[in-house]
């Protein structure tokens, strides 16, 4: 557990060198401007959180103030938390009390990489202190205990055996309680957790609710507390740290290739292959950049993985920013499944389906998944629904029923375009039409092919996901008034028409012809 009491001010000062101490952040609370965060210098001068801004200014005339931007700070803290996954894969932001300031790392089975728990804690703390953050930390068997110790005691490592004595001595505030509960406890004269623990549980529950006992048990490890890690834990990954930070994308890709080889060897030994690969770039200045690529089929081929990442990186050319450098790179794999040991290397297998899939992967990684598509036929008589474009990565060859295929255009316009009719024929095909400012004389035509709308939907509204019922005192959510579906209005009569030059179009008349009203015609596609 790491606790950064002055995170908001420290963070802002690091990003804007012009902000001088003492610095305080204010926030509008119940109509009044009150301090929400103060830095160490301001705290030394006697300012505290919750003070009125005008009072604070009167006490410390040279005070620098800024308005607190919570979403920004929370997002920045989340980045900061992600960056800490270079020490442990399971990192969470503890937002029981505040959206920023508390960081939980699950270091089970990690500490030995840093030479033990004590050196690890020292490393984490000095690393941040060198950067100008005020930080306290604690390593303890339970999350609750670590929180209390990091907030209310010196930074230390607490073993399971010494846990009770350390917690007993902590004040009751160290239990993450609501302010009301703390006030009640101090009224009762209970100062430390030890005193609280020796009381009867039933009366405590009756007075302070079950949450107090829950917090108490969590601190002592009697019940389990779970953390929600920010990044999904990848079981298989390869990583490399750099003594000197690197910056160039080429270097990153070379490293990625090395890591892909390491990872590939490991996956091969396990007889596994992956479909999703993630590259995490840990920047020196507490940011993590992540790139992800997907592959259509299971793979562990380092060349292919590197190729995908290099395509992906070309796509973000402008967005890539190494900042002051990258000091660690991790390549993780997810969506892992069994892959036979024979297939390795792009050209070892004779089948060409793999080649095609790899080509689709490469194109998707550079152009985007939604840019590489395949047609999937859907059984629908509505032309635009009969074909669906799906990403080639997920498309599968389908069985087709051998119905006689109706004549359909080779190209379809995504949105039908309206055509003007200048020589109208009542109930039937016009003799000529104007489309895109060109006039076409219709020489030959076949049709109509009447495509009715989906009559089974007639009189219905579009089905929306029903909203949850409003709670008491809440205004019911807005439900849009959708029009009733009326199939007659959207019935289409399709014609294949040919003009004097031999161009062939697919046009349709929308709705049924009403005497006295102009017919509405659209052009929908081109025949070869």
């Amino acid at each position: 557990m790491l606790f950064l009491p002055n995170w908001p001010t420290d963070y802002l000062k690091r990003h804007d060198a012009r902000l001088a101490a003492p610095l305080a952040l204010y926030e509008r609370i119940k109509g009044g401007l009150r301090l929400a965060a103060v830095d160490a210098e301001a705290a030394r001068l006697g300012l505290s959180v919750g003070q009125n801004l005008a009072d604070a200014r009167a006490m410390v005339p040279e005070l620098t103030v800024r308005e607190m931007d919570r979403p920004l700070l929370e997002a920045a803290f989340a980045d900061f938390a992600d960056w800490h996954s270079n020490t442990s894969p399971l990192v969470a932001v503890m937002n029981d009390v505040s959206g920023f300031g508390d960081l939980v790392l699950d270091i089970t089975g990690v500490a030995h990489l840093f030479g033990g728990e004590r050196p690890m804690l020292r490393l984490l703390l000095t690393r941040l202190r060198d950067l100008g953050y005020t930080v306290a930390g604690a390593i303890a068997p339970t999350i609750g205990a670590a929180w209390g110790i990091s907030h209310f005691a010196r930074s230390q490592v607490v073993e399971r055996a010494g846990l009770e004595t350390v917690i007993d001595a902590l004040p009751v505030n160290a239990l993450r309680l609501a302010p009301v509960q703390i006030a009640g406890l101090s009224q009762m004269g209970l100062k430390t957790i030890g005193q609280l623990r020796s009381r009867e549980r039933k009366p405590l529950q009756a007075r302070f609710g079950v949450s107090l006992l829950e917090r108490l048990d969590q601190a002592y490890g009697l019940i389990e507390e779970r953390m929600t890690p920010r990044l999904p834990a990848a079981e298989r990954y390869a990583e490399r740290r750099f003594a000197d930070p690197i910056g160039l994308m080429d270097d990153v890709l070379m490293t990625c290739h090395d890591l892909a080889i390491q990872l590939g060897i490991r996956l091969e030994a396990e007889g596994q292959g992956g479909q999703a690969f993630h590259l995490f770039l840990y920047r020196v200045d507490h940011k993590v950049m992540s790139l992800s690529v997907n592959s259509a089929r299971l793979t562990r081929d380092p060349e292919h993985i590197t190729k995908l990442f290099s395509n992906r990186s070309e796509r973000l050319a402008g967005e890539y920013d190494a900042g002051f450098g990258i000091d660690m790179i991790r390549l993780a794999v997810s969506s892992v499944a069994e892959l036979d040991a024979v297939q390795l290397g792009a050209f070892s297998h004779q089948g060409v389906t793999e080649d095609l899939d790899q080509l689709n992967d490469r194109m998707s990684s550079r152009l985007g998944t939604l840019a590489v598509l395949r047609t999937q036929l859907v059984e629908s008589h509505i032309p635009e629904r009969a074909a669906r474009l799906v990403p080639a990565l997920v498309a599968s060859n389908q069985d087709r029923t051998d119905w006689p295929a109706p004549s359909r255009p080779l190209r379809l316009l995504p949105v039908p375009e309206m055509v003007a009719i200048n020589a109208e024929v009542p109930e039937g095909l016009p003799a000529s039409m104007i489309w895109r400012r060109e006039s076409y004389k219709i020489e030959r035509a076949s049709g109509p092919e009447r495509l009715g709308a989906e009559w089974w939907r007639s009189g219905q509204r579009l089905q929306l996901v029903p909203p949850r019922p409003p709670e008491k005192g809440e205004t019911p959510p807005y439900i849009p008034k959708l029009e009733l579906f009326e199939p007659d209005g959207v019935t289409r009569d399709y014609y294949i028409v040919e003009d004097a030059a031999g161009r062939r179009f697919w046009i349709y008349q929308q709705g049924f012809h009403q005497p006295g009203e102009p017919a509405i015609w659209y052009l929908h596609g081109f025949f070869p």
């Binding site: 060409v352 389906t353 080649d355 095609l356 790899q358 080509l359 689709n360 490469r362 194109m363 550079r366 152009l367 985007g368 939604l370 840019a371 590489v372 598509l373 395949r374 047609t375 999937q376 036929l377 032309p383 009969a386 074909a387 474009l389 080639a392 060859n397 389908q398 295929a405 109706p406 004549s407 359909r408 255009p409 080779l410 190209r411 379809l412 316009l413 995504p414 949105v415 489309w435 895109r436 060109e438 020489e443 030959r444 035509a445 076949s446 294949i496 028409v497 040919e498 004097a500 030059a501 031999g502 161009r503 062939r504 596609g525 081109f526 025949f527 070869p528």
Partner: protein, 268 residues
């Protein structure tokens, strides 16, 4: 001193070698075409073909002509055709439509549609795709002029195509012709369809008018009136609308125009 007869033969051989070295794909194609005899030639892969049409509204015929050739290149080993289009031109030109492909006689599963954001990405995708040995043909639908698509770009594509034996079809629109390293350049326009049996008012079997502007396939023939069914091309006499008579070694019915710079078989 070799005799004049020998000299002549030597010169002819030298020309043949030069022909092979400069544009092996086209030379090979010509040999194959000569073996096929009459009708519209079935072209082998490994060529960069530009197919022009005068206006965007002929887009349907243009795609049909390219896909008809591409279908002939599909084999068990080369099982895909990659269609490239700029994402913002879909509404202008329309997108290949699955059921339409079926009724045209092209398997929609064999077609991969790629929608590139800009010309640089489209050209990258074209090169990447043609390098893949599972790709039979790349059809690039380019509705607008771009500076990036210059002689160098087309030279790269033509070399790639020749190296991998897949064909690239560049679908272009408009009257302007830029310098390009394409092996063949077609000018395609739709023609009035043949009469339909039992219904004279309805459009019948499709007809295209294809004109070879660059490259030579069959000596002295540069124009074809084509039909397409699911079984392949049929060629008709260029001038006559009589649909039932196939041409067999028929002489051209009009004078062949002088070969201008445009029609030179070498690089443009």
């Amino acid at each position: 001193m070799p005799s004049p007869d020998q000299q002549q033969r030597l010169a002819a051989l030298r020309e043949t070698i030069a022909d092979i070295e400069r544009k092996p794909a086209l030379a090979e194609a010509r040999v194959r075409v000569e073996q096929q005899g009459s009708g519209f030639p079935i072209l082998a892969g490994g060529m960069l073909q530009e197919i022009f049409t005068d206006e965007r509204r002929n887009a349907g015929a243009l795609l049909g002509f390219a896909l008809a050739q591409a279908r002939g290149l599909l084999t068990q080993q080369r099982m895909a055709v990659i269609y490239l289009q700029l994402a913002d031109e879909a509404q202008k030109l329309g997108m290949p439509y699955g059921p339409g492909l079926l009724s045209f006689g092209f398997d929609p599963d064999a077609l991969v549609l790629v929608r590139a954001a800009n010309m640089a990405e489209l050209l990258w995708a074209a090169e990447e795709a043609i390098a893949c040995r599972a790709v039979a043909a790349v059809v690039a639908d380019i509705g607008s002029h771009s500076k990036l698509l210059d002689f160098t770009a087309s030279r790269r594509l033509s070399l790639r195509a020749a190296a991998t034996d897949g064909s690239i079809f560049l679908l272009r629109y408009g009257q302007g012709r830029e310098a390009s390293a394409a092996h063949l350049r077609w000018r395609l326009s739709p023609a009035q369809s043949a009469p339909r049996r039992y219904d004279a008012k309805a459009p019948g079997p499709l007809r295209w008018h294809a004109e070879l502007e660059k490259g030579v396939l069959i000596k002295k023939q540069t124009e074809w009136l084509l039909g397409w069914t699911e079984n392949g091309y049929t060629a008709f006499t260029p001038q006559r609308r009589d649909a039932d008579r196939l041409v067999s070694d028929a002489p051209l019915s009009r004078a062949v125009p002088a070969q201008l710079a445009d029609g030179l078989p070498q690089t443009a």
